[in-house]
Amino acid sequence: MSAAPKHTVARFSPASRAAFVIALLLLIGLALAPWWAGRADMRLMSELFLYLALACLWNLLAGYAGLVSVGQQAFVGFGGYCLFAATIFLGVPPLLAVPAVGVAGVLIAIPVAFLIFRLRGAYFAIGTWVIAEVFRLTAAQVSALGGGSGTSLPVTVVKSIAASRSMREAATYWMALGIAVAVLVVVCLLLRSRRGLALTAIRDNELASQSLGIDIWRAKFFVYVITAGLTAAVGALIFLQKLRISPDAAFSVNDWTAFVIFIVVIGGIGTIEGPIIGTIVFFLLRETLADLGSLYLMILGFVAIIIMLRAPKGIWGYVRERTGLDLFALSRRVVLPSNMGPTDTNGPSKETDRGSQTT
């Protein structure tokens, strides 16, 4: 028992510290983009940030809480429609409407969760899709927002974002960057917290989790609702950028769920790094192959199949298994006191690293 107090627990590694500094520098560089990037580049980067946010959120839901939803477009579309309704009918300034839409997303997700949590596994997945369809059909009934054919954001609302076009574009760019960073920070803090530890435990073994004091239903409910709120806020930004909304675009399973699942799966599900890598790979593929038409989608599918066969844990899972890297400092390492020699520890060289042990 005497050895215990001499050990300490490290929550940061040199790699995670370096990653933090690099991320900070990168963030500053990206925040200055309106001064160095062209209009088209900024638009593309905004889209990338919004996809990154969606991917991180879906990863939290499916990769950590085990809630494989194929109906997150319900909240993207809900967020978009709420933004249009709030700005057009209530005259809420667009930039204020975005966080309000997030709160609305949380509120709508609560009854949805009570309904959908009665289903498990594949039934849950199909259930979420059904819910999204219900949302889509409901939105198509709102004639004040154009019904089935949708509507555009009135010029007065657009102008209220900022007076000049370049300022408007900078503002929407910053908001996209801001929400991606916010989502990443929320996901990181959540996973580093007590609640995140519980989620990770649930991901690995539900029976042991509940026997060790974790209320599984409550943990999943919390994640579902938080994810829904943030997804709705992202949805609001997506359609603030598009300036036009229609039920088919807002509740598109292809755009807001299929591509997002592709991103998370090729990047590495159940890791924070995965969705980031996946988003970059997805945009690289899209931008280089977009001219190929439907061949582009076939290549996308081919890439997904290759990665699922060759590296089922995605690109980051493949890298981590070989390097043990953990850029977001989610793991906790027990550190031997520096004055203890190898004899006291029964040879630390024998100790296999967490990363390389994962099978």
Binding site: A4, H7, T200, S211, L212, G213, D215, V334
Partner: protein
């Protein structure tokens, strides 16, 4: 006042009865051994006590409170923790994190206190050297130790051990007995299901025998082991009167 009391617990799966009017008490600080043939309902009894399975009828009392309707996680937070016969590690998490789950969720600790509790438990169960290894990469013996470590990490007042000595070498078994006796000395009440009878007898001061979900004998370990009922039913020996 007993720490744990089972009152007429009954549970069956179709034609198979795993608990048949099961009643007994465990006083605070006691160490109770449970023996019985495979499929007698020993593990099911643990499932009923920890709340992972609901009883068809009967009640469970813990610290003078009826916990029959309490969920499994709430029972763990109230002070009941268990080890699983078939280890159930959080495979992708490190050994330390496995125990940290118990310390933060079950024992409700946080920050430095949680870290210290985990390090102490890992030290007592001989897993400190393996603290950073992913639990999925442990050997069977280490997985069994991790089961014990996690159960202790929840800082239980009642510890349920399910065949934790099975498959260990003589030496490993001796060190396990020492660890469990230590735990008991720290004031934790223990119920231990075990086929390795000599290990059980080194710790417990009372035995119950279960067969077909029924308690068929209860008392002093020596008396029970020598009783006709145990030799006939548990060991499968025909004893001539």
């Amino acid at each position: 006042m007993p720490l744990l009391e089972l009152k007429n617990l009954t549970k069956s799966y179709g034609a198979i009865t795993v608990a048949d009017d099961l009643s007994y008490e465990v006083a605070e600080g006691d160490a109770l051994g449970v023996i019985g043939p495979n499929g007698a309902g020993k593990t099911s009894m643990f499932n009923l006590i920890t709340g992972t399975v609901a009883a068809a009828s009967g009640d469970v009392y813990f610290k003078d409170q009826c916990i029959t309707g309490m969920s499994a996680p709430a029972r763990c937070r109230a002070g009941i923790s268990r080890s699983f016969q078939v280890p159930q590690p959080f495979g992708a998490m490190s050994v330390f994190e496995n125990v940290l789950v118990a310390a933060t969720q079950g024992a409700g600790e946080s920050g430095q206190a949680a870290d210290d509790l985990c390090l102490d438990v890992l030290d007592r169960t001989g897993l400190l050297k393996r603290a950073n290894v992913a639990a999925g990469g442990l050997t069977l013996l280490e997985r069994k130790r991790l089961e014990l470590a996690r159960a202790l990490g929840a800082r239980p007042s009642l510890l349920l051990l399910d065949e934790i000595a099975g498959g260990l070498t003589e030496q490993e078994c001796r060190s396990l007995i020492e660890t469990i006796n230590d735990v008991r000395a720290s004031g934790v009440t223990i119920i231990w299901i075990e086929h390795v009878v000599h290990a059980l007898l080194a710790v417990v001061d009372r035995l119950i025998v279960i067969d077909f979900g029924k308690k068929i004998a209860e008392g002093e370990p020596q008396t029970i082991m020598e009783s006709k009922a145990v030799q006939e039913i548990y060991l499968g020996i025909e004893v001539d009167a």
